[in-house]
């Protein structure tokens, strides 16, 4: 084990954190309103003028590739009365036009370029003031991230060292072959905690991940982010349940062809890799007890998309099942969490510490401290 953290492994969040609307409201306000969200893939924005709409927490966004080829993001509300300027993915040759009263914005800079009936109805309005509210964009691995604030913490600073610890993968050299939305009845944090829990691999995934050598599972936290790797037990890559080896990724080193990776960008961007795929599955809260997983599959062009989705879903569906069961029991007044695996579940404590630090806008608490 790589990880060293002197505080004991403990479950730091109360049951309320998983079912109380006030907790979710606080998470939206203090965390999701001010963090980087995975919102698109470059594959979804290939042509200049193409755009998608995506949610970054409570902020609906437009993500658009400008005529200059640059991908930008703006808040998806008309500055007039708040209608969504775009309601679906599309492509513009010039402006983004709000369907409510026809206001038009430049796709490259969000500037308000047309107000119908301006002379008669908006005579003293300074249009320079009313462009689309900009958001921030960062791109890594063919994935587009956005931050609701225009003056966000720089994306590179957010990633930190993380890109150096994911092995030989270069997801930007792959193609997005599939995108699936999965809704489930569980609080988003349960799904993150499941992803960074090492212990469950042996048991919950005893069929789907049995080919991998869990005792040699390596993982570490990089601040709030997390990276991990485990090798195959032995035997042929092509025989393993989720790495059939039909379309291996060409650019991988030997280690990555014979193992799987699982990673997390705090707070909710989960990723996993195999010899055949790089998947991202951001989990976002809809309500305290419902979430949506946005699964994107990157692979070599021509790989069998359905098969890769099935491989990813083989373990994701098992995780969803477990999370939904825990969520259902959470409502019980006597629900409580017991002792955690000292090393295999340590990442959960770290996740909680980082979450509480953001929510309380203070220092990262020691695991032994009871949060206010």
């Amino acid at each position: 084990m790589d990880l060293r953290n002197d505080s004991p492994t403990r479950f730091l969040l109360p049951a309320e954190a998983y079912r109380d609307p006030a907790w979710l409201e606080r998470e939206q306000r203090a965390l999701f309103d001010h963090t980087w969200h995975l919102v698109a893939a470059v594959d979804e924005l290939t042509e200049p003028g193409s755009y998608v709409e995506a949610a970054a927490g409570r902020s609906p966004l437009i993500v658009v590739r400008g005529s200059d080829g640059v991908i930008r993001a703006f808040h998806n509300f008309c500055r007039h009365r708040g209608m969504a300027v775009v309601c679906a993915a599309g492509r513009t040759s010039s402006t983004l036009r709000c369907p409510y009263h026809g206001w038009e914005y430049g796709a490259d800079d969000g500037a308000l370029v047309r107000v119908p009936q301006r002379a008669g109805q908006f005579a003293d309005v300074e249009t320079e003031r009313w462009g689309l509210v900009p958001a921030s964009v960062g791109i890594w691995g063919g994935l587009v991230f956005a931050h609701p604030d225009d003056d966000a913490e720089p994306f590179d600073a957010f990633l930190g060292e993380w890109p150096q610890h994911i092995g030989s993968f270069r997801p930007e050299r792959l193609t997005q072959l599939a995108r699936v939305r999965i809704e489930g009845s569980f609080n988003w944090k349960l799904f993150v905690e499941n992803h960074i829990d090492v212990l469950h691999l042996w048991y919950l995934h005893d069929r789907t991940l049995a080919d991998f050598d869990h005792p040699r599972f390596q993982h570490r936290n990089l601040g709030g982010h997390w990276v991990s790797y485990e090798p195959l037990k032995g035997g042929e890559v092509a025989e393993a349940a989720i790495t059939r080896g039909t379309t291996p990724i060409a650019h991988l080193a030997e280690r990555d062809r014979t193992g799987i990776g699982a990673h997390m960008l705090f707070p909710n961007v989960l990723m996993a890799s195999s010899s055949e795929f790089w998947i991202s599955y951001a989990v976002s809260p809809l309500t305290p007890d419902r979430s949506v997983i946005d699964l994107r599959v990157r692979a070599e062009p021509g790989a069998d998309a359905a098969e890769l989705v099935a491989a990813a879903r083989s373990f994701i569906d098992e995780d969803v099942f477990a999370c939904e069961q825990v969520q259902a029991v959470l409502a019980a007044p006597r629900f409580e969490v017991g002792p955690l695996a000292a090393e295999h579940e340590r990442p959960i404590t770290t996740f909680h510490q980082h979450l509480l630090a953001v929510l309380e806008a203070g220092t990262v608490p020691e695991a032994g401290a009871v949060p206010a």
Binding site: H75, F77, G82, Y100, G102, Q117, G120, Q121, A123, P148
Partner: protein, 365 residues
Amino acid sequence: MTAVDTVGQAGSERATFLLPKHAYLDAGWYAREQRELFGKVWNLVAAEIDLPEPGDVLPVQVGCHPVLLVRGTDGVIRGYLNMCRHRGMALACEAGHAGANVRCPYHGWEFAADDGSLVRIPQRSGQFADTDPNAWALLPVAVQSWAGLVFCNPDPDAAPLEEFLGELPQRIGPFDPLRLTQVARLRVPLRCNWKLYIENHIDVLHLWYLHADSLGMFDHAGFAHDWVGPHWVSDEVLRPGADRPRGAMLPIAHIPDEERDVLRANLIFPNVPTSSSETMWITYQVVPTGPETSELDIRVLGEPGSQLDAESEATLLAVLRDEDGFAVEQIQRVLRSPKFAVGPLASAHELPITRFHRLLLERLA
């Protein structure tokens, strides 16, 4: 009437959005509206045809007040608090027929339909020997009708409905709804605060854009609108040579020819948009169901013998639900964005929104 070619502000009022974001989100604001606005105004609660026979009863919710509408033996519709004077049981939970007396299912107390008086207490001599029935009549709530629509005002100091409506009945065109038949009733759930839908209804500007296809045959430049007390009336006419959307509904017989090319849109304050055309006279009440939800209760009246055919229904819902409803649901969704605030309003075309806000704030103060 304020014709749409008026440049600048009507009078000295500046078009401004006066309500804060939390008016569309907050449970406390919602409760205050239920108490101070809906609890003290004439609410549309039913149509006369919902209680066709003497003795019919219909429970309705009026703000915080559960009300039982009762058509008496004399044919008059009255309202009482839907609460037995014994231990508070609801006298009726669904539409039905009570006859001359309304009987509480809990302990059998009976109240006269015509005046709410307590006329029977089972086991009275043994169990309620000292009880004076005259003290325990049902609590009346003001109920009056206009144009076949039944209104209720829970405020004991309410002025009559006639005074509340003022000149509105004379300003909504040459229609007599009592000569029409209800051909359809449609309910559409909306994921938005009720006020957003009303603001959309009284916004003149959006007609050109949101309804570019569905209402493009009308001459918005000639759109005329006015306030009649707290109510709002408007009309516009078909552009010369244009075809109005054709369905299979019969033209209304009793209107003059010049009315046939007119599209009217009105608002009975606070939450009952109405509209009329050659073939239909409709009300589409926006019933609040929560801070962020409401229900559109659409009643379509037409010429007797007319039917709401599939094409007419689709055309109607395209405008009311798929265009207007869709737009306001998007706005509701963005209200929680930390970056959202309302911007500048159209100086004349959106001035009705400012007036609507003032009318609300007067009552909520």
